[in-house]
């Protein structure tokens, strides 16, 4: 069915269509409407799962760990400060190899406290061992939540998934979204079957301490599972494309085939960048856009291949790592190491600072002329 939904509603519908069984949450702007929607459905009897608002995001993540370990399908959502508070538990969840999907709604970090989007909060989770999908549209959020469960619960993978959207721009903006029927999603997403779980019939000791080489082996296995998930994510995305007609790839390459300069970025502002690319193409300038959708595991090889023939690359960071620069920049540089390209870093949009089409046109003009790597702030 086609409906007009905002990003928060899409995440909630994703959880509903995925027949999520446990939703432990804590409210924070701009995520709150996800949990309000699910609470309203529960009150009307439309949502059969368990729904509990806990005492903090840390407790919500802990409850998600506990619930998921019993074998129930779990969903939670948070932003910014809440996500940082959860950060203690996120490596425990991935280290215990517990499947679940969490929707993060990006919001800038304190201090100074702000409500509007940038990517510092989500990208701070890149070391936690979660698969990260960063979305551009509300439709993608809905689709990614459902695909996320299929990826996460694969017995060879067993890794939790973060589905990220931008606060306010996605979460409170309504667009046309296609929500498939329950039967269609049921065919795609079977009931979860977790083998290593808490069950009185088959006692197991989970989250067990490990020392020295044993510990290192477990962390190695976690890394290996992340690397193996490329294949699984690819298969799941292709299966979803067959079912719904909507194609998703690790990288969203837009007019990069013959481009002389390309913007590399993540998130909602990619839509504006797309429009800038179109405007410049009409004037005959050969430019393109590369949006990274799958951030963890990091698609290094695919990035390198996609940018092989392009010599001027603008990495846009809607985040700042104080004292170093943008967070995406060194990762892109690592993927392109050994090549002679001009890779510039542009910091923009912190705290939800509005970015216009002209801003992207300026960036593309700037990178075309650039002769050396540099970092510029667009304010």
């Amino acid at each position: 069915m086609i409906d007009i939904l905002d990003g928060n509603a899409c995440a909630a519908w994703g959880a509903r269509r995925a027949k999520v069984q446990c939703v432990p949450v804590f409210p924070i702007t701009p995520t709150t409407e996800i949990i309000e929607t699910i609470a309203a459905w529960k009150a009307k009897g439309e949502f059969p799962g368990e729904f509990v608002v806990l005492d903090s995001e840390h407790s919500a993540a802990s409850a998600a760990l506990g619930a998921s370990m019993t074998g129930a399908r779990t969903f939670t959502a948070t932003s910014s400060q809440g996500l940082l508070l959860m950060h203690e538990i996120l490596p425990i969840i991935s280290g215990c190899r517990t499947p679940m999907v969490m929707t993060t709604v990006s919001r800038c970090l304190s201090a100074p406290i702000g409500l509007w989007p940038d990517h510092n909060d989500t990208l701070a989770m890149r070391d936690a061992g979660w698969i990260m999908l960063i979305c551009e549209t509300n439709q993608e959020v809905f689709d990614s939540v459902i695909m996320g469960y299929k990826i996460s619960e694969n017995p060879k993978i067993l890794l939790p998934v973060i589905v990220n959207m931008d606060g306010f721009v996605h979460s409170y903006t309504r667009t046309e979204v296609d929500v498939p029927e329950q039967k269609m999603v049921d065919k795609f997403l079977p009931h979860p079957e977790l083998e290593i779980r808490l069950d009185v019939k088959k006692p197991m000791t989970l989250g067990i301490p490990a020392m020295g080489l044993d510990y290192m082996r477990y962390r190695q296995q976690l890394h290996k599972a992340m690397l193996d998930s490329f294949d699984v994510i690819d298969k799941v995305q292709k299966e979803w494309a067959k079912l719904t007609g909507r194609k998703y790839e690790f990288l969203d390459e837009y007019k990069t085939k013959d481009a002389k300069a390309v913007i590399v970025m993540i998130g909602a502002n990619s839509t504006i960048a797309r429009s800038a690319v179109d405007t410049m193409r009409k004037k005959g300038k050969k430019v393109g856009l590369l949006r990274i959708r799958l951030f963890r595991p990091f698609p290094e090889k695919q990035l390198r291949n996609a940018l092989e023939k392009i010599d001027h690359i603008a990495v846009i960071d809607q985040n700042i790592c104080p004292g170093m620069g943008g967070i995406l920049y060194p990762e892109i540089k690592m993927a392109l190491s050994g090549t002679k390209k001009v890779v510039g870093n542009y910091i923009q949009g912190l705290g939800g600072n509005f970015v216009s089409e002209q801003d992207y046109i300026d960036i593309l003009d700037d990178i075309m002329k650039a002769k050396a790597d540099d970092r510029k702030w667009q304010m």
Binding site: C96, M204, T205, L206, G207, I208, Q221, D228
Partner: protein, 103 residues
Amino acid sequence: MLSKLIKEKDIKNLGKKGVPYAVEKQQLVERANWRTFKPVIDYSKCIKCGLCWLHCPDAAYDVNEEGFPVCNGKVCKGCLLCVDICPVKCISVEQERGKLHKK
């Protein structure tokens, strides 16, 4: 054992074994080498009250067919809580290692 350099592409995905969990192992870890003293029951005095079985933190007492408690020498740490709790004082202390102590 010296460390080895392993190429990342040679790492194997161990599936279930890559998840940190454990199930019952047949072999109990032995803690006998923690002991200096060992409890010894005088079965002629034992009244089978079960208090030594109940108060052992390491579950070192098993019960035989006649209902008498039997100390599992593999896991007993020699804490001697059973000696003090026995209502008829039928458990005596035997020194297993170290210089002879005055009790």
